[in-house]
């Protein structure tokens, strides 16, 4: 299948391209920009006039719930939602049942995703067996099976010695550690940011120091071991400063932030809105502004959806008893674009946070760019399309999002995966 994408505004942050030109695809790969290669005749031309053509989005953190929690969502349901949202690569945390701690589970997930063929799925391997925080996994085998890194998710490690050994061992095999800094003891049984809102609502708080103390020890160990670390879902002003300092020292550390932490604050919890129950919690406006500035100054390189689809019942209980998490695939692009309207990022920089930079963090050999020779994973969206998120028209199985009824701007029109048009105007092409 040879495809010509005509008259679109091509934005490819990796190569610095931002101009209106045609893109040519053949045999699953991008073959040329601008002028057609000699002898190219398109089987199909996609008119992208007025649309933006960028690399397929790469989401650094999305839970697909399979295996183990298929009542919440499946790889099939969520990769479908991803395709409709312009996301072509999903990196998923290892907290499935069973945990991603053996190559067998990695293969199970990847094969399932390959069969369905709507997105590339890269499971992170568990850092410890069963995420128990004590015994290291066979990381080399996990890497060979296709894990781009290892993570203990939000589960605590038994002690800093385990983390030290994990860093040393991961570094031995050139694996990136994906870390979520939160001290379990300081987080206690909290469920919202410790501050005026928690005090008013009488909800147990998670103090900012739960994040900063954990991050401080992780950074101290990273400095000593030289391990490559990617910090996920930072939420506090101080954490952004600490990452900036570590980067200034030359440590190989990167960090991301969720799309929702960039828009919401703890004030959104004021009505006991369980849809705003997330972990790590929504913090103060000052923290949110610091996260935005951290993106603007490139300390935070990427935005993830932190997609966590839930069944309706999981959110139907008093706040503390509800399951944390937001169904975020469908709002990843529009919320990233919102930062452009909020004068935090340029359009190209916003696109880089969900394409090029995640590709670099995952150290993908290919993907995240539209250079000739690369696999043709492409997202084509209308930047001026205004729409409202409606639970009845969500594609993810999880409808748990506080962005319902928000007016969003920017909608995906076409998605291509390895040169195949898999989604067109809301319809999946089987």
């Amino acid at each position: 299948m040879r495809i010509r994408i005509s008259h679109g505004r091509i934005i490819d942050p990796a190569s610095g391209v931002d101009s209106i030109q045609d893109l040519y695809i053949a045999a699953g790969c991008i073959v040329a920009l601008g002028r057609a290669p000699a002898g190219f005749s398109a089987d199909r031309t996609l008119d992208a006039q007025g649309l933006i053509v960028c690399p397929g989005l790469i989401d650094l953190r999305a839970q697909l719930r399979e295996p183990g929690e298929e009542h919440k969502a499946t790889i099939a349901s969520e990769t479908r939602a991803a395709a409709q949202s312009g996301i072509t690569t999903l990196c998923c945390p290892p907290a499935t049942t069973p945990v991603v701690d053996t190559p067998a589970v990695v293969n199970l997930i990847r094969n399932r995703a390959r069969q369905i063929g709507l997105a590339k799925v890269l499971p992170l391997g568990a850092l410890t067996r069963g995420l128990d925080g004590q015994q290291l996994t066979e990381m080399r085998a996990l890497k060979e099976a296709g894990c781009p890194g290892v993570s203990n998710d939000l589960r605590p490690l038994a002690n800093l010695l385990v983390l030290r050994r994990a860093m040393e061992y991961a570094a031995t095999h050139d694996l990136t550690l994906f870390l979520q800094p939160e001290d379990a003891a300081l987080a206690n049984s909290g469920c919202v940011h410790e501050g005026p809102v928690a005090t008013r609502l009488g909800l147990p708080g998670i103090p900012a120091m739960a994040e900063t103390t954990a991050l401080a020890s992780m950074l101290a160990l990273a400095e000593q071991t030289g391990a490559r670390c990617h910090f996920q879902l930072l939420t506090t002003e101080r954490a952004v400063q600490m990452i900036a300092e570590a980067q200034a020292q030359g440590l190989p550390v990167t960090a991301d932030v969720s799309a929702y932490h960039l828009q919401l604050t703890d004030l959104d919890v004021l009505d006991f809105d369980s849809l705003c129950h997330v972990r790590p919690p929504l913090r103060s406006q000052r923290d949110r502004d610091a996260l935005r500035n951290g993106l603007g100054s490139h300390v935070l390189a990427a935005i993830c959806s932190d997609h966590q689809p839930h069944e309706a019942d999981a959110k139907l209980a008093p706040f503390v008893e509800t399951a944390p998490g937001i169904s975020g695939l469908e709002t990843l692009l529009p919320l990233a674009l919102k930062l452009v309207d909020q004068n935090i990022l340029s359009l190209s920089a916003a696109i880089a946070t969900i394409t090029t930079h995640p590709a670099q963090i995952l150290r993908l050999q290919d993907g995240g760019t539209l250079s000739p020779g690369q696999p043709a994973d492409v997202c084509i969206f209308d930047p001026l399309h205004y729409w409202t998120l409606d639970p009845h028209h969500m594609h993810s199985r999880g409808h748990n999002t506080p962005f319902l009824d928000w007016e969003l701007k920017g909608r995906v029109v076409y998605t291509l995966l390895d040169g195949v048009l898999i989604h067109e105007r809301g319809a999946i092409l089987e």
Binding site: R200, F272, D313, L316
Partner: protein, 325 residues
């Protein structure tokens, strides 16, 4: 729906009673005035008025309670309602039924009012936003969030004994962090316009950013009690203590227990209140609890009239809702 407006109907009448926060001063005064008119009822030989005749009130207690449940029960009976007591701690939820299932089952039995106590903050609000439109929900304590009828009976007690709120300095002493009573008292006192609210306790038991509630924070009890008109002692809740909040009861009593010498720093006519149950020798000395300044038992008595008032007010909105359908 907004947490503050869900408790009012379209005519701004009290539909549910979930929190003091966001209610107008005039409504709090209306509750106290109505309670005043009911307080005669308990002293009559026939202790009943027919305001809630034919209505069914369900006391839905997911946490154990004696005083609060009993006074709600008495209040409902004095209004001639039928009362059903359900202790869920030992009932449905242990069989795997969700809170919402329990509610819908009770709704199917045509109840009119739920009086709810639950260990999770926000549970009363959650229940109010999911019940059928003709049902009123009264919060009898949700987690650390609110206990609005307790706060109103405390206000009623203060008004009876002290009159005008505007000149009063009130100190609340003890475990503010875990106290739903204190949160509701603070909202009520500031809505009613007291001169000053002080909270007194060790840093481990004062919630983060407490001053944003409009209070002055003291860690030295002697400074905090100076010249106050009302001293409210809070129960030290052992059952909520799951960490290193305090070294010992003994040291707590030394520093924050109400004793005669500390109380002497307050105004000579200061009153001493406690929502109960009291821990003698932990937060309050026995001779103070039983002393001439203590009004602890009057608070209990006033609880019945105040709860009658709240139930009667929500039933006005209820009657209007039934008429509309």
């Amino acid at each position: 729906m907004n947490r503050h407006t869900i408790q009012l109907d379209a005519q701004n009448r009290l539909r549910h009673f979930l929190t003091i926060e966001g209610l107008k001063r005039s409504l709090l005064i209306e509750i106290m005035d109505l309670a005043e008119s009911f307080s005669g009822v308990s002293e009559q030989s026939v202790k009943k008025v027919p305001l809630l005749r034919g209505k069914t009130v369900v006391n839905l207690f997911f946490e154990p309670s004696t005083r609060t449940r009993t006074t709600f029960e008495l209040a409902a009976k004095r209004l001639s309602a039928d009362v059903l007591n359900i202790n869920i701690a030992a009932s449905a939820t242990t069989k795997g039924e969700t809170l919402l299932d329990t509610l819908h089952n009770l709704e199917a039995m045509h109840c009119d009012m739920f009086v709810v106590r639950h260990a999770s903050s926000g549970s009363a609000h959650f229940i109010a936003s999911h019940v059928a439109p003709h049902i009123s929900v009264i919060n009898a304590g949700d987690g650390r969030h609110a206990h609005p009828t307790q706060a109103m009976l405390d206000m009623f007690t203060i008004r009876r004994l002290k009159g005008d709120f505007h000149k009063l300095k009130v100190a609340i002493v003890g475990d503010l962090l875990h106290s739903r009573v204190a949160r509701s008292q603070i909202h009520a006192l500031s809505t009613l316009g007291v001169d000053e609210i002080r909270v007194i306790g060790p840093r481990t038991l004062i919630p983060a950013a407490a001053e944003t509630l409009g209070v002055h924070v003291y860690h030295d009890m002697r400074n905090g009690l100076r010249d106050v008109d009302v001293v409210i002692m809070l129960r030290l809740q052992y059952e909520r203590m799951n960490g290193a909040f305090l070294p010992s009861e003994h040291e707590y009593f030394q520093v924050y227990g109400l004793t005669e010498d500390k109380l002497a720093l307050a105004k000579p006519d200061a009153i001493v209140m406690h929502p109960g149950p009291i821990n003698r020798g932990v937060e309050i000395a026995s001779d103070i609890a039983d002393g001439r300044q203590s009004v602890i038992l009057q608070q209990v008595t006033h609880g019945i009239a105040v709860r009658m008032a709240v139930m009667a007010l929500t039933m006005r909105s209820h009657a209007a809702a039934l008429e509309a359908t």
